[in-house]
Amino acid sequence: MQWRRAHRYRDEVATRARQQAAVADLGQRALAGLPLDELIDEAVACVAGELGTDYASVLELTSDRSGLLIRAGHGLPDGVTGGVLPVQSDELPGYALESDGPLVVDDFAGETRFGPSPLQRDLQIVSAMAAPIGTPGRRFGVLGASSRRAHKFSPDDALFLQAIANVVGAAAERERTDELVRDSEARFRELADTTPALMWMTDSEGTVTYLNKGWLRFTGRTLQEELGATWAVGAHPDDLHEVLTRWRKALAKREEFRTEYRLVRRDGSERWVLAEGLPRYYAGEFVGYVGTATDIHDRRLMEDALRESEASFRDLADTAPVMIWTTDERGLVTFVNAGWLRYTGTTLEEELGPSWSLGVHPEDAPAVISSWNEKLAAREPWELEYRLRGKSGDYRWIVDRGVPRYEGGRFVGYVGTAIDIHERKTMEARLREVYEREHTIAETLQRSLLPERLPRIEGLEIAARYLPAGHGAAVGGDWYDALERADGRVALVVGDVVGHGLRAAAIMGQLRNAFRAYGLAEVSPAEVMARVNRLVMSGEEEAMATALYLVLDRETGEVTFASAGHPPPLVLSSEGPEFLEGGRAVPIGAADPGIFREGSAVLPPGASLLLYTDGLVERRDIPLEERLAALADAAGSGEGGLEGLCDSVLSRVLGEHVPTDDIALLAVRPRPVSTRSMKLALPAEPESLAVLRRRLGRFLHAVEATDDVAYEVTLTVCEAAGNAIEHAYGPVDATFDVEISFQNDTLLAVVRDRGSWRERRGTHRGRGLKIIEGLMDDVEVTSEPDGTVIKMRRRLAA
């Protein structure tokens, strides 16, 4: 038999699973902080081992972009690593740099796009693959694999190489950023130490980890004395309770924090300060707070003094270092103090009336004016941060605050103070920038772990939802999966890795692959679970997860399933909602060896099945049975489209509640096989015959054909399909169509291919046609310009 390639479907799947596992493993090591040099060495060893090539190497672009440094190599002769090749775009490495994907060379002799590099010529390379590392515009280099003999690389091999290159690229980018961050943090601290503003940082528990010189100067204490405690050390005893309450509340919810209190200095004196803090995140994980404290002592004194008298107020005002202003009841400025004039460099006359707003930055002016007018009309306190033009003409950030004043019960206008917060604002901006960059790198690494798109499985309606919790995280520890096994049954998985963030996501990636590989090989769900558990227990990292693995027979509706500490699947049908009990065991990663059980059930016709993770039903103070009952309620009868079912379950179960845990939801419904007709389009490859045979089997079973008839019809249609596959000519994705229908009690099968007619090869094709003609009542073969059509008819006994 002269087929294009005789590869075995199952071996392909095993190879793909192994390659994916290798990528996920390398990715996880990169995330865990493996130094770049070690990562690159591991990458080339992995590539050479996995692809079976003589050599593998990572070439790094030099800073002037004219050379490629051989940074690491596997199998290369001594002395080669460390050398530099010039970048030539008519050679494979140089060409790969410009490419937006992997390049495959089965044999350089037949390659017209480019030639081998001088090094490759010296090593007598015959076949090679190369993948660019890094993003276009910021290329790190090239990952290559090559051999001294001709090698047939598969599309999977090319994708595997590119995936490894992507991991190396992301890690290289992160290392570059780490250097920048280290520089940046060093610069940040330098700057933080020169600014008069007071700055502080905590870790995720709320313990102080950093205070700048300004803070220490202000309090008069040393770093030793202040570090390690909550920053409320030094708070006036009368204010302490309020401050701690607010702080704990903000920390618990990871919200912006803000409070005014008296900070007691070493010499016993007190100053009113306004402490503000923002939560910080790194790669989706909360890592603590960063904040400032601003001296508002004078402002508070002003507000008190004003109650006494206007005159003593002005006296005080002019000596105060802060900026002060007052308005009349119409909101027009009647006074600004010397401090304000020193800042703006203007005269009192220029600031009176409505003209103070002229110094406001044009971008901020609309917000300033509208919020001021709004508060003025309501006679409420007003506060805003905006940019005000200083004496030198530069704009600086200030926070301006005004409160209404009354004289003898009558509203007479506002008094306000403004404080320069420029340093603090620029600090915040710089910090945000640094964390943005880190976040982008982490996101890129995360995306390589995202679950693939839902597979389309014939005869099964599927819908799924995936909601990772966590600030800005693209992927969490939950997953869902569906795959079609060789025996025709469908395996469904849903799982939940303990923990959050990137580490959980990396473990999730490996578990997902493990379930796929074992799910294809093992028949029994309990055995699949046991094998995954053994894999986890034998690993170095501690990991735990709950999972639900279920095998479904689309024809009969039979399901067998095993649960490892996971909530039960929900069956929705006209008979009412029902949770599938049984098959329960401890989570994966909890016991070695683990004892896993199986449960089984039969889905009524037309039923839907819902698999989900704990995040959907998790509520701290509500018992499990109630939560499950609520889910069953929300799901209803499960009629209608599955996409709508997922949406309505999510909205009804979650409501306003913001989930703190990842959520995965998978809904399936076996589609009844039509008993009147069947239509299928398949790729023109040998592997399609198995799919066709299974589909025909289900269809003929549904129309209640006898075993003999089922076999003969299946055989003839497959023989006709075999013709179509042999005739396929041209691009790999050529397809052929099969259509079965009934005319009274005569079955009509039509097989249509798109290839050009070729002379029959070998005697067995002729035998095939003989079989078709012998088993069917009527056969018609027509040659059309765009393909061949074989029509066969067979009377079925009534």
Binding site: Y9, G768, I771
Partner: protein
């Protein structure tokens, strides 16, 4: 189509030189396509060169009966109702 060459090779390798015949038991076999039938013919031919026979076990009730008759396989291999019958000298 995807594994017939392998099946043929494995079968050939398993037949020692002093055996009289190779018996292929098709009882319970639920699917046989033209590629597999080709293997049977090929086997029969190669065994014939070694002066060995190919015998098939095929009950009358098997769904494969009609197809095998159509392809005239009984012209190159002995067809028996039962395994015992096929193993008899």
């Amino acid at each position: 189509m995807t594994n017939s060459a392998r099946v043929r090779d494995e079968l050939l390798v398993s037949v020692p030189n002093d055996a009289l015949a190779l018996v292929v038991d098709l009882d319970g076999c639920r699917y046989l396509d033209s590629a597999a039938i080709e293997v049977l013919f090929d086997l029969a031919r190669r065994l014939g060169r070694r002066r060995q026979e190919l015998r098939l076990v095929l009950p009358q009730s098997s769904p494969l009966v009609r197809v095998l008759m159509l392809t005239d396989v009984q012209s190159v291999a002995g067809v028996h109702e039962t395994l015992d019958s096929a193993l008899a000298q």
